[in-house]
Amino acid sequence: MSVESMQAIAAETGGTVTTSKKAVFLNVSREKVPEACAKVAAMPGYYHLSTITALDLGDQIAVLYHFWKGKTFAVVKTLVPKTDARIPSITPAVPAAVFYEAEVKDLMGIFFDGNPYMKGRFVLPDEYPTDAPAPLRREADPAKIRKMLKLE
């Protein structure tokens, strides 16, 4: 895995590459995420999806797909607006992502089109109301959630 191969993928998917101490980031738009992830996973050598992280940046949510390629992390990064939080799922190409996407859906409120676990609750209790903000978003308050779930 090298920066050049990531740049080749960036050229095909219209993204940009940035590097940091231990990771190579591939920034793409959300429609290109399944294609980029499939290409990263298909790079020679063994691929391993470590996890999928979501960060609340205020108006947008950043979603990072962490792939471990044997010496450095190859991270596919995309930005999603909060008001329209949907991303196409990468599960057809990377089946290991099922649970990670389901967790992000529960905790950050992002809908992954094509993931079979999008109905109902995955890690949160069933009583968690659908109109309440997802717990890891900035607008969610743990004290209010505790009252809602009757944990006081």
């Binding site: 940091s20 101490k21 231990k22 990771a23 063994y46 391993h48 999806l49 470590s50 996890t51 992280t53 960060l55 609340d56 990072l64 962490h66 471990w68 044997g70 010496k71 992390f73 991270v75 599960t91 089946p95 290991a96 099922v98 649970f99 990670y100 967790e103 905790l107 079979p116 676990y117 999008m118 109905k119 109902g120 609750r121 995955f122 890690v123 949160l124 209790p125 717990p135 890891l136 969610a140 743990p142 959630i145």
Partner: protein
């Protein structure tokens, strides 16, 4: 409606909203339980064989990632190590090293060696725990009792070094909390030698005990196709022949100088998991002795200021169960902006589901323990028998006794 032909289809039944198709390789989404109590695993039986498993996680979801944003960097060590009591040091190691990566400080060598020693002691305790539990679930209670008695030696060492048996809080941001007590170095070597001798004995015992072999050989077979597809981690990955270990691929602490040996097997069943974990525990004993011999003198800690510079860092460690991943983001303040934790059990649940398919109910405890789940996972299992149209719950201990009875009737356990 359902039909029991090959590739049966089963929709909208008394089990609630559910779709299931035998050909699909992907698990189906969560089910509204018709039983009043929530279940960890819903097993769908056709005849005697399990055809589909639906896990329901969220029982141990406590909201720790959100709570970590409200606590200071050092206080989070105490929070994060209580995610799991068995691999608690691995959690604190992943977190503290992830935070240290955001700073410019270099951790002193002695601290890295001390972390290695405690990390390997934890691996020994966790593998011995698992080996005892496999014996317990397979009906081999003597093995369980004897192994847990020897496990106490490693816990005594941990208590002497760190002050506590389970939640050690030994790793801190900048190094470790305290140095080795006097005389500990010699004691570590003698005790590691003792544990290694006992492990040799158990190795011979488990290979020669027929009833144990019946319950573990050929059970829970997986292969490289499954592990590649589902990004399995830990011994479950290595039992299919893929030699991946984070300590070797991406050395942290002192693993660049005290190098582990990566244990693999090609069988992919529970018996191979038993031998891999036993070998890893033996290798840990060897590494502890080597680390004590090579340990440099010096500081055990470097002082890092309370406000961690802004940035993001990814760090993973090889916990006893597999890769444990930490992502830490700092905004420059005294509390983290985001801490993302992916435990190794979460990565292996789908593989555990694949392991269960095709087995009977009597094999469930042993095969499920193969993926090294949390204790609570065995607590409550729902069983849906498609051919009979019946649904019922069963607890872990009851399932264990059912398995023992089943095999003793067939001439297995005596």
């Amino acid at each position: 409606m359902s039909d029991n032909a090959e590739g049966a289809h089963y929709t909208e039944s008394s089990a609630g909203l559910m779709e299931y198709s035998a050909e699909s390789a992907m698990p189906f989404g969560p089910v509204h339980p018709s039983l009043k109590e929530p279940e960890y695993f819903k097993l769908i039986l056709e005849g005697e064989k399990i055809v589909q498993v639906m896990p329901r996680i969220g029982y141990v979801h406590r909201g720790i990632e959100r709570a970590a944003q409200d606590r200071t960097w050092v206080k989070n060590v105490y929070l994060v190590e209580r995610i799991c009591g068995i691999c608690s040091f691995s959690h604190s190691l992943g977190y503290t090293q992830g935070v240290e990566n955001l700073t410019q400080f270099e951790i002193p060598k002695r601290a890295r060696y001390l972390r290695t020693v405690v990390h390997e002691l934890e691996r020994i305790h966790s593998h011995l725990l698992w080996l005892g539990l496999i014996g317990h679930w397979a009906g081999f209670d003597t093995l369980f009792m004897w192994i847990w008695k020897d496990r106490e030696h490693s816990l005594d060492l941990l208590e002497a070094i760190t002050g506590n048996r389970v939640n050690k809080s030994y790793s801190t941001i900048g190094g470790v909390r305290k140095d080795l007590p006097d005389g500990m170095a010699e004691k570590l070597k003698t005790e590691a030698g003792f544990i290694e001798k006992r492990l040799n004995y158990y190795d011979g015992l488990m290979k020669s005990e027929e009833t144990f072999a019946i319950r573990t050989k050929g059970m829970g077979r997986i292969n490289q196709e499954v592990t590649r597809r589902l990004s399995t981690v830990g011994p479950l990955l290595r039992c299919t022949g893929i030699p991946r270990d984070i300590r070797v691929e991406d050395p942290y602490a002192a693993y660049d100088e005290v190098v582990p040996e990566v244990m693999t097997s090609n069988d992919g069943d529970i018996a191979s998991l038993v031998s891999i974990r036993l070998n890893e525990a033996r290798d840990s004993c060897r590494m502890i002795k080597e680390a004590v011999d090579k340990m440099p003198s010096g500081d055990f800690k470097v002082n890092i200021p309370r406000a961690i510079p802004a940035g993001e860092s990814m760090f993973h460690v090889e916990a006893p169960r597999g890769e444990l991943f930490y992502y830490v983001k700092s905004a420059g303040g005294s509390t983290p902006e985001r801490v993302k934790i992916r435990t190794s059990t979460m990565a292996n649940i789908l593989t555990g589901v694949e392991m269960l398919k095709g087995h009977t109910l009597a094999d469930v405890p042993v095969v499920l323990t193969g993926m090294d789940p949390c204790f609570g996972c065995m607590d409550r299992i729902a069983v849906l028998d498609v051919s009979k149209g019946k649904e019922w719950s069963i607890g872990g201990e009851a399932l264990r006794r059912y398995g023992i009875d089943y095999y003793s009737k067939r001439g297995g356990n005596k």
